[in-house]
Each structure stands twice: as structure tokens, then as C-alpha cells.
């Protein structure tokens, strides 16, 4: 780093902390910043600081939020009798983009990984139970990823919720849009068949 002036070296170092960014990319980004208008650089810097300062976890659903509770939790038009359980806040955003879901969410902040020793105690499960036990929830939709870890998490949550006597559902798994039957593995095909519907 000694070829750089100090301030530039620091910037390159900071970029390298970001995921997926190696020395070359960090250097390219740093040179790009130097060519930017000063006001754009200041806007970027304040956006970074603002996001860090203002974004917290919603204390109801654990979504990322700039208000307590978050905008989804405090929206009176949303159906509070349905809870959609997701692994991370970005899954919630993906669900929102579909514009077909009008219930509330619960973000677990992770998933179970038996092989990595990541157990139920690391997830927002006591908070989920407390929410459901407080009443008003009729259905919980388990929208964890269709990976081994996501499935394990869904099964575990379903087992926790079953004694409470509410409807627990799992999002359908099957052949992706644009997929090809011939190249679909047996497990996915079998699930797609299970989840078939009338036309």
C-alpha cells in the first residue's frame, strides 16, 4: 500500500472490508471515488452513516426498519392474522416484490444448520412464539429457503407451533419458471407433483 498517498491507501483498505471485494476491485472503486463530484461523495458518505445510525431491527417482526415498529407492522391495511416467517430481511423484500402478500412477517435472522452447530437458540423463535401466543394469528406461512437448512428450520418451527392449534403452511416447492422438466431432479419433480393443483 506504500505506493498510495495515505488517504487513498485508507480508502482502499476500507473497501476491502466489504464482502467479495479484493485489492483490485478496491483500487478501482477508490479511483472512481476520486473522480466523483465532491457533493456525490458526501452524499454517499452520509448515506452510509445514516443507514448505520437509523436502521435497526423492528422489535416486532425483526425486519430492518427506520421506525419502531416498522412500516409493515404499523400499516393498518395489512392482515395481522397471517404471519409469514422468513430467514432474512432480504427474503422479506423478495416477498414484498411479488405484491401478492398482504399479511405480516417474522424474520428469524438465520436458519438452523445442524452440521454447523447453529441451533434453535440463535433464531428469533421465542419472539415468534410470544407473538403467536398473544393471539390474533390464524395462519403462519413458513417461507424459509428450499435448502436443507431452510427445510430443517421450517420443520422445526412447524413442530413448535403445532401444539398452539393454528394453521401452519409451507410455501410450495416445485419447478422454477423457465425450468425444464427433463433437467429437474427427482426430489423437485416429486414435490412439484405433490403440490399440483386444479386447472
Amino acid at each position: 500500500m506504500s505506493h498510495y498517498p495515505d488517504a487513498l491507501a485508507r480508502l482502499v483498505q476500507e473497501f476491502m472490508r466489504l464482502p467479495g471485494i479484493g485489492p483490485k476491485t478496491a483500487q478501482r472503486l477508490a479511483f472512481f471515488v476520486l473522480r466523483m463530484e465532491e457533493r456525490d461523495v458526501l452524499a454517499l458518505a452520509s448515506a452510509l452513516a445514516d443507514a448505520k445510525r437509523k436502521i435497526q431491527r423492528c422489535q416486532v417482526c425483526y425486519n430492518l426498519a427506520d421506525a419502531q415498529p416498522c412500516r409493515i407492522c404499523s400499516d393498518p391495511r395489512r392482515d395481522s392474522s397471517i404471519l409469514c416467517v422468513v430467514e432474512e430481511a432480504n427474503d422479506l423484500i423478495a416477498m414484498e416484490k411479488t405484491r401478492t402478500y398482504a399479511g405480516l412477517y417474522h424474520v428469524l435472522e438465520g436458519c438452523l444448520s445442524p452440521l454447523e452447530g447453529i441451533g434453535p437458540e440463535t433464531l428469533r423463535l421465542p419472539e415468534l412464539l410470544k407473538r403467536v401466543k398473544a393471539g390474533g394469528t390464524k395462519e403462519v406461512i413458513l417461507a424459509t429457503n428450499p435448502t436443507v437448512e431452510g427445510e430443517a428450520t421450517a420443520m422445526y418451527v412447524a413442530r413448535l407451533l403445532k401444539p398452539l392449534g393454528l394453521k401452519v403452511t409451507r410455501i410450495a416447492r416445485g419447478i422454477p419458471v423457465g425450468g425444464d422438466l427433463e433437467y429437474t431432479d427427482e426430489a423437485t419433480l416429486a414435490r412439484a407433483l405433490e403440490g399440483r393443483r386444479d386447472m
Partner: protein, 269 residues
């Protein structure tokens, strides 16, 4: 690029980069190997289905400079039921973690590969109850320890070598993970730091008491075929004592707690 084939079980699949996974594969004759499966985390990937933990596949691999990669993959046995039930998933996770750890510095061992497959099949076919899972895991533990050369001494005192028949009566027998198996009363009396049930400085219990029947069951399971083991009845007491003894034995040998145990315990209760 040089390529090769592998007939293997996926022990682990960890995320790598944006959309890849690195697989830990146990091949029947090559032993343990690692390979990257590119694009597996994309829903359209043809490798996505086969490249899941526990799947037994025929792999077509390319040899890379630092890491080999999967070019094609054909499912032999998918073992999907091991991923679709919590108890089975917890048990299979325990099995692969143990194999992964015990096979770490071993030469390729086709017997360990076959043993794992046999027990996957048994687990797949079993009714998912805690009793069944414990039964399968104990027979797996004992046979795997045997194949890896870490068998607990069950026929003779682990310290002085006196055959069990010469010193064991009808009462309980002491099992010492530190000594590496059952210990006779004389050796138990002189061994330092002796205490029952979780005293002393070493992790886990120092001595576990086994009923005579439990010891007989363990000796049988250590050498039984998978089919012989399957039809053996296990009393709840024997199951509990074996679990405690073998867990302590494995903990002592690996010198670390298996990561999958907490999850297993949380679904077994």
C-alpha cells in the same frame, strides 16, 4: 483438463461465493475429497438437486489447480427422506460429522463408505422415533469406531487387559473414556482422579456405569452385521447407558464436542 469419476456420498455442502457450493465427498475408493459445484445455488441449476448433503451420486469431476470441480452428477440414491424429517436429518447430520472427523487423517476406507450407506438406508426406512434413531446411531458408532481403530475395549479391562469374564460379576461394570473402555475394580481403584459421573478435570464423566446386559449388547453390536443389529431389541436403559458411554468415548478421542449433537438432542427430546 484432466477429469475423473467418483462414486461418493456428500458429507457436507457449504456455500461458496455468489452461487457455488463446495462439496465434501466421501468416495468409496478415493476417500474424502473436496470439489466445487458451480452455480448449484441457482434454482435452474441441474446440479442443485443432486448436490445436497447425504446424496449418493456418481460424480464426473475435473481436476483444477487448487480445487477440483463437478462437471456432471448422477443420483444413485438421493436419500431425500433423510432431509425431509427433522429426526432423520439430525441423525444423518451426526453420522456425516462423525465420519468426516474420523475419516480425516485416514487412508481411503471402503468399509466406512459401505457402513455409512447401510446406515443411511436403515435410517431412511425406519419409523422416525427417538428409540429407532438411537438404536441406529449406537450401532453406527460402535462399528465406525471399530473400522477407524478407536474401538472401546469391551472384552477386557482397558488398563490391565484382564478378560471381563474373570472380574465382572452380575453387577454394573465401569466404563472409562480416559482408559478407553471398561475397567476392572482393581484398576479403577488405583486410577488417579477417579470419580463417578462428571467429576474431575477432564470433560464429560470420568466413569460411566454399564449394566451387565448393556455391556453384552455393546459387544454384540460392535461385531454384528447391519441386519443382525436391526433385529436386536434394545432396552431403554441399555440405550441410555450406551449413549452416555459412547458419547464420552467419542468426545475423548476427537477432543471436541460434535457440532450436530445439540441439534440432535433438541429434536430427540
Amino acid at each position: 483438463m484432466p477429469s475423473y469419476k467418483a462414486d461418493g456420498i456428500i458429507l457436507k455442502a457449504r456455500d461458496f461465493g455468489e452461487s457455488d457450493r463446495i462439496l465434501t465427498i466421501l468416495d468409496r475408493s478415493l476417500g474424502k475429497l473436496e470439489a466445487v459445484a458451480k452455480g448449484t445455488r441457482r434454482t435452474q441449476s441441474v446440479l442443485r438437486g443432486p448436490c445436497q448433503p447425504f446424496s449418493h451420486n456418481l460424480f464426473f469431476l475435473w481436476q483444477g489447480r487448487t480445487l477440483d470441480g463437478v462437471s456432471e452428477c448422477e443420483i444413485v440414491e438421493s436419500f431425500a427422506p433423510l432431509r425431509d424429517d427433522l429426526l432423520k436429518l439430525a441423525a444423518a447430520s451426526y453420522m456425516v460429522e462423525l465420519v468426516d472427523d474420523i475419516a480425516r487423517d485416514q487412508d481411503p476406507n471402503p468399509d466406512i463408505f459401505d457402513l455409512t450407506l447401510e446406515h443411511f438406508r436403515r435410517l431412511e426406512a425406519a419409523e422416525p422415533t427417538p428409540a429407532n434413531v438411537n438404536h441406529i446411531l449406537r450401532s453406527f458408532d460402535l462399528r465406525l469406531l471399530g473400522l477407524a481403530g478407536f474401538s472401546p475395549s469391551l472384552d477386557a479391562c482397558a488398563t490391565c487387559g484382564q478378560p471381563v469374564g474373570l472380574w465382572a460379576g452380575v453387577g454394573a461394570v465401569a466404563f472409562s473414556p480416559v482408559a478407553g473402555g471398561v475397567v476392572c475394580p482393581a484398576c479403577r481403584a488405583v486410577s488417579a482422579g477417579d470419580g463417578e459421573e462428571g467429576q474431575g478435570d477432564t470433560p464429560g464423566p470420568v466413569v460411566i456405569l454399564l449394566a451387565a446386559g448393556t455391556l453384552a449388547t455393546m459387544r454384540h453390536l460392535a461385531t454384528a452385521t447391519t441386519e443382525q443389529a436391526r433385529i436386536l431389541r434394545l432396552t431403554p436403559r441399555a440405550a441410555k447407558e450406551m449413549e452416555r458411554a459412547l458419547r464420552a468415548h467419542i468426545l475423548y478421542h476427537l477432543d471436541r464436542q460434535l457440532k450436530s449433537l445439540d441439534f440432535l438432542d433438541s429434536v430427540l427430546e
